[in-house]
Symmetry: C2
Subunit: 282 residues, 2 copies
């Protein structure tokens, strides 16, 4: 029996990953091949090659990102804040072990430092090696990997970053503290006076209370708080929210977006803030 | 053993609907209660009460619409065309057995006729009775139910409708013909000189060739062809496309949208046409 056997099942000769994290809805993916499967000190890490989504990063049996749609999430969590801050030079990414966010940030010439604080080095190493559709085999010299707890990192730094990107997993286990007010307070202080931050704030349908709480934390701290959404097919319900908190800048400073992207373009930069009626939070 | 047993499974004492239509990905829903389950002359029809999505319409074991998100699809397939046609009086809905599209169309006072051509009367009857979150217990006197084949209906009518809404299921079995060029040609002729139509054109990720073909058919016939999207959580990947073909009108004629809606608002009317980069079809 391999280590991965508790997450994978053989059904009629086919291999399936059955996501077991949700109580009332389960998604199963037919798998071609197990590319990597091992436990790190923090979690169980797999790269699986699936039929419909290509290669996927799977942590503790839950799909995190896939070759088919990883770019949607990673483009949305990076190009929106980097199109609002007019001079982003120092960028911090908290989490983001798949390296896709760092890959997008590296598309900005004016960015001089990209600090990536990820707790689990194994995730970074396997994504760089086995998930090139998402990581782009990231090798930009401006990226500094810091294998540490993001919470400790922002506690120790003041008035340093232009943009902080919180690319966390779901608020369970170690990522739970990344959804608390004290963490956002430290982020506020780790930013320069005109800095801004963005975080993924979960599904507006299935995690509405987490989303509302996160928006509340950011509103309490930052003079500017804006919510935007994207469709990320591998996340439950496809609908995903991001929340931006800014100490100064409010509007896009880009009117002719041209980066090498598959999802974001000038009109998406603008319309991602147009929320459906039910999603407007007073 | 009940008739529904082939679609439902008992697992550790819980009832689950396991959607079996896709080869490489399966979604299972935990079910509270079977509200209705019977075979019509066309298909097996169920109303199930689920934990995460509330009551759902399930045809041949596949979820069609749910109380949680049915309004998103139904609002998007109706309010967009009805905000582009300046004087919609005669509206035809092909399919739409859940009655949600007709319910939205009935919110327009200037509409005088709403013809709804649905092949399966059982679907209409059970949705009116058991799925009020979607059907709104539709009882508007302007709605005329025609239990017939939509293809035959549009073959026989010329120069009559202002707006035609093709609210079809997936292009398998009887709905297959609703994705063919000859059908759109009949729709073109069933419209008045300044009429317009809209259809659901499937997932841009998982049914890209169907979407491209549908857009091609409509472009071949109509001087105006526009694609828009919405996030519909219960459809695979959440991402869904709609294609509009118009004989004359191109732009929104509404600048202050106020209907009783949960998803559509003025900004969604505009930004739904802002397509992600990968979705632009030359």
């Amino acid at each position: 029996m391999s280590e991965s056997s508790s997450f994978l099942r053989k059904i009629n000769g086919d291999l399936w990953l059955v996501e077991d994290e949700r109580e009332n809805m389960k998604v199963s993916y037919r798998i071609k091949e197990i590319i990597f499967s091992r436990s790190s000190p923090f979690q169980h890490v797999m790269i699986l090659d699936s039929y419909d989504f290509g290669r996927m990063l799977v942590l503790d049996g839950v799909v995190q990102t896939t070759s088919l749609d990883g770019h949607i999430y990673n483009e949305m969590i990076t190009h929106i804040p980097l199109s609002i801050h007019p001079e982003p030079e120092r960028v911090l990414i908290i989490g983001g072990g798949d390296c896709g966010a760092a890959r997008e940030v590296a598309k900005y010439e004016q960015v001089k430092e990209i600090d990536m604080v990820e707790i689990d080095q194994m995730v970074v190493d396997v994504c760089k090696e086995h998930l090139p559709a998402v990581s782009g085999n990231l090798s930009d010299p401006r990226v500094q990997f810091i294998f540490n707890d993001g919470i400790k990192h922002v506690q120790a730094i003041r008035n340093h970053y232009d943009v902080i990107i919180v690319d966390s997993s779901d608020p369970v286990g170690p990522a739970k503290a990344l959804f608390e007010q004290s963490f956002y307070k430290n982020i506020y202080h780790a930013l320069k006076d005109d800095g801004l931050m963005v975080c993924q704030s979960q599904s507006p349908l299935f995690h509405r209370s987490v989303m509302k709480e996160t928006i509340g934390h950011i509103r309490n701290l930052f003079p500017v708080c804006k919510v935007y959404t994207a469709t990320v097919p591998t996340y439950p319900g496809g609908f995903w929210s991001f929340t931006l908190g800014s100490r100064k800048y409010r509007d896009l400073c880009v009117d002719d977006f041209h980066k090498d992207t598959k999802y974001v373009n000038q009109s998406i930069l603008q319309s991602c803030f147009d929320l459906p009626e039910f999603l407007k939070i007073e």
